[in-house]
Symmetry: C2
Subunit: 177 residues, 2 copies
DNA sequence: GCACTACTGAAACACTCGTGTCAGTGGAGG
DNA sequence: CCTCCACTGACACGAGTGTTTCAGTAGTGC
């Protein structure tokens, strides 16, 4: 059970990594930026790895909250894309991509399994949104895998180019209603 | 014009980063692994940043060679996916994703523009593969953007789960012939 | 008042990092 | 032979890393 001070510092650190990236964060600059000290961070989180784990869990909590908020049923993909393409969410999504790539390069450590976990989370949401009669068919699996690929590929494009208009138009032509 | 020794060491370093990642490579371990020394690497590449730039250029050369090899015309997407999903190419593609994410988090430095550049490279190949009458229409742009998203999203899924069967099946249902 | 817990500050330790300095080495061309 | 040039080895420098040690301080419950 995290203490009040711990969650407070975690929130501040989370805001910090959203703009500075998580891959090469280091304790002293982070502590200075959020008005703390390395001593306290290590006291509360045990080690740097513990802090990174907590931050990844924090980011994942945001993601799960989103999925819960979007709900299920027809139109999920469209609703998901509205959320993904909102400029306000760009820092979070860049952080998400960073963690994703990192967990592939370095399968050990605090990143472990992050990429696989998000694939499964999203696939599950898409699955629940499918009509019952296709949910457990091969065609259903193929369809939601394709929807997920479309969303993530579009996200990659958007993050790199910022061209929301082009990417949103591309998605519009590709979605089953 | 790179010397013989320079290209030799670059190749060795390239093989090294394909398995160790490029984001947090450091000179001493790298030099030791490829039978060289930090002194020589700095002599040949000027600085660590110069070396990283050279390595990114090397990776990009691989990518451009692929695109040239795949050619253009009907069936490009399918051919591209065959190449992307080949297990032998996984280290290269992981490296690619790493560089992509990095260039978004840290827009300065040697990574600058990497993500945007690859988006444009691939879109251009897809464009050239389209029939002339749609090439310059909004529908053509939307279609190739969608194809690119599909490929990249599928790649993300594949790199995380390794489930080539599911992802390939998902792509098969989604491609215009 | 007193113990106890939660937190904090200062300083040090044992690294690793990229880079610079200075001195070479071996071979090719005049 | 002698000079030039590409390359290499050993070592040190200053900065930054995560972590530890030791010494506190504020607040809470008894």
């Amino acid at each position: 059970m995290p203490s009040a001070r711990e969650t407070e510092l975690l929130e501040a650190a989370y805001r910090y990594v959203l703009t500075h990236g998580l891959a090469d964060v280091s304790l002293r600059p982070l502590a200075a930026a959020i008005g703390s000290s390395t001593r306290v961070l290590l006291y509360l989180f045990g080690s740097k790895e513990g802090l990174v784990k907590a931050l990844l869990a924090r980011a994942r909590a945001d993601e799960l909250a989103l999925l819960a908020d979007i709900g299920t049923g027809p139109g999920v993909v469209r609703r998901l894309w509205v959320w993904l393409s909102a400029p306000a969410h760009r820092p979070l999504l860049t952080l998400w991509l960073e963690a994703y790539a990192r967990s592939l390069v370095e399968p050990d450590g605090p990143w472990a399994g992050f990429a696989r976990a998000t694939v499964e989370d999203w696939l599950e949401v898409l699955r629940t949104s499918q009509p019952e009669e296709v949910r457990d068919t091969a065609a259903g699996l193929a369809l939601r895998t394709r929807e997920l690929a479309l969303l993530r590929g579009a996200l990659l494009d958007l993050l790199a180019t910022g061209d929301g208009e082009r990417v949103t138009a591309a998605l519009a032509t590709g979605l089953v209603p």
